[in-house]
Symmetry: C2
Subunit: 159 residues, 2 copies
């Protein structure tokens, strides 16, 4: 019964008081994600980029031009957060926002030449950072991790 709820563990934990902070997965997940983010940001900063710029460029490279709403959903951030990022990225010439007559509310975001250049420059940094982060983990372990995270994500809901 692999998916059963573990009554013993949960009861023991409730008895033991605030073991939450020390030994539980929740804070560890939190800390690991925070450290990984910092790790990526540091590496990208050395290459003159930001985390936000990287995710935007990678998304556009992978999916092609998108309107902001779709891009925000894709990146799991809210509209205003993306707006701010795009504002600075457009100022730096990394992307362009193009408004069409088809729907004059929407703005299609595309990679600009300088964005292409930056993408080419930093994609290897992102890839190697990921490799370093997962160093020593086998394919099987990475797949396990991925599955476990999916199941947790399911539990807490796509917010």
């Amino acid at each position: 019964m692999p998916g059963r709820q573990s009554a013993e563990r949960l009861a023991a934990e409730a008895d033991a008081g605030p073991t939450w902070l020390r030994s539980s997965v929740a804070p560890k997940l939190h800390l690991t994600a925070k450290s990984c983010r910092a790790f990526f940001e540091e590496r990208l900063a050395e290459a003159g980029a930001t985390f936000a710029a990287w995710t935007v460029l990678a998304a556009l490279k992978l999916e092609g031009p998108m309107i902001q709403r779709a891009l925000a959903q894709y990146l799991s951030i809210e509209g205003p957060t993306l707006s701010r990022h795009l504002e600075s990225m457009e100022r730096r010439g990394l992307v362009v926002r193009r408004r069409t007559d088809l729907d004059r509310r929407a703005a299609t975001v595309e990679i600009a030449p300088d964005g292409e250049e930056m993408y080419n420059r930093i994609s290897s940094v992102a890839i190697s950072s990921q490799q370093d982060m997962l160093k020593g983990l086998s394919d099987r372990e990475i797949a396990q991790l991925s599955t476990l995270l999916d199941r947790i994500l399911e539990n807490v809901g796509p917010r």
Copy 2:
């Protein structure tokens, strides 16, 4: 060979372009942690508490009074961040900062009566939130997850 580096996968990924964003563990880890944090914050908010207050109270309950520096390290946040939290928590009467003559620089943080009250009120919320988050995961799977996160944390370094 459980700990080997997977040359095939990494090469395939580098070839395939920015699969990073879509299928890799890094963004999933990021999103899962973000969602879990939001999940906890929402539950705690319903009980009139904040995530920061919960972690501070739980740490003090578990470890006893601590000076701010130790508390910040324990919570993996920086001094100024903790200072701000303690400022509002002290205003709300949840904690007290006591300066001793032994080291007049340091401030020992203790739980105040209202903090005790809040802790008792929300600890069950935190425990049940954690249960919900891990619903369907066996002890073995939770232990696996914990180990994998530890190994990643090791790779990206305690920053």
